[in-house]
Amino acid sequence: MPPDRDGAVGLPDFLISIPEPASQVRARDLPTGAFFAGFPDDLPLTDCFEAAEWERQHAIVVNLERWVSLMLTRAIVEPVLTLEVVQRLGPSRDVLARAYLETIGWVPPSPDSPDMPPVVEAPARRKRYPPLELTWRTATPGKNLHGILKQLATRTRRLPTELWALPISAWLFTLKCFSDPKDPVGLPDDDLMRLIGMEV
């Protein structure tokens, strides 16, 4: 399972529409490690969140919000967005994040957001991608994500480095293929967020 370099395993670039300013952006299927770079170990609505002190809960929410914005700076390739520009997007940032997460398969299409503009495949012309920091290849993921990666590597008999370089859509697809709610160590595909946020 070689890392995808030509879109054969992962998704082609795709276009996401945002309501304001009414326009489109071009997004890429990030390598898994780049997608999760900086992903916080503690997440809202998990058991550890509920048990945390209120100041800690606040920090957890802030950390997650920051990760979403930073992830978008890596995922959107046209235009190239800085963190400040993402922050300027306001409510459109959430539209962008939701559409991206739906497209890569993290969350199912929401029936609550019928107005969400469809995501379409981008024209095939190649764009030169903005560079990614190399640290995503070498930085050890947080404890919970590390546990998932280790579990997935065991089941697929692949090196974690291979899985870490997969396009995020392929990684999530693989993860869902191995999910089994009846298995005590199964990976429920309807609750990835909770799973990754829980201690494993």
Binding site: P21, W54, S110, L192
Partner: protein, 226 residues
């Protein structure tokens, strides 16, 4: 098919200006706070945490439960929370403030004053062209064009100024608080003007709806999945 987003378009679309009315009156010339929208995490990073257990409160009951929680605090804690709530607006202004534009006067007129009149979801320049700074000042603000053009020229000659610090934003007083509210609404953190604090003096209790809205909406895309 919508056009491709550009950074220039975002910057233009997400800039806002706030006329510091009291300061303008005091100084006898228009004082304009130029700012950008802020992100939710920028707001949350300067906002005080919501009360313990509030993550489970329903949106409709937040204000009532916040008030109950606030009233039960010791006096010192209430005062501290009040101050925190007031400071949030100044911190927002400091984070969002931009230096004056360095541009020809006519362009400044469009960008500084035109956007002030932008209707929701519509950029003024695309609807009704801005003819002149003088027209806007006379029609919409009752200011003399000379004073405003002096201000614009000063922005040209003095060059970019540093972003406001928290202390500088605090010195703006109620002008700063009003600018903070405008920035929060424009940024979608407060969805409607009615969600904003009803008065800055009541900052502690009234910062709750904003905090609730932010927390409730926070990470909406991700948390919907959980």
């Amino acid at each position: 098919m919508p056009k491709m987003l550009t950074v220039e378009l975002i910057n233009r679309y997400t800039e806002l200006t706030h006329v510091a009315e009291r300061l303008s009156k005091d100084l006898g010339e228009p004082v304009i706070i130029r700012a950008r929208r802020i992100g939710r995490e920028e707001y949350l990073s300067v906002a005080p945490p919501n009360p313990p257990g509030s993550s489970t409160w329903k949106r409709g009951e937040f204000a009532k439960r916040f008030t109950e929680w606030f009233d039960a605090l010791p006096r010192e804690a209430r005062e501290a929370r009040t101050q925190q709530g007031r400071d949030v607006l100044y911190r927002v202004v400091a984070a969002a403030s931009l230096p004056p534009l360095v541009c020809p006067v006519a362009d400044c007129a469009d960008r500084l004053w035109g956007r002030r009149l932008r209707k929701e979801g519509e950029v003024l320049e695309e609807g009704r062209p801005v003819d002149s700074l003088a027209e806007h000042l006379e029609v919409d603000h009752g200011q003399t064009p000379d004073a405003a053009e002096k201000a614009a020229l000063r922005a040209n000659t003095d060059g970019p100024t540093p972003f406001l610090t928290f202390d500088q934003a605090r010195q703006l007083g109620t002008d700063g608080e009003e600018a903070g509210i405008e920035i929060m609404v424009a940024s979608g953190i407060w969805q409607r003007a009615a969600d904003a604090p009803k008065a800055a003096d009541d900052a502690a209790s009234s910062d709750a709806p904003g905090g609730a809205a932010a927390s409730d909406a926070g990470s909406a895309a991700l948390r919907d999945a959980a």
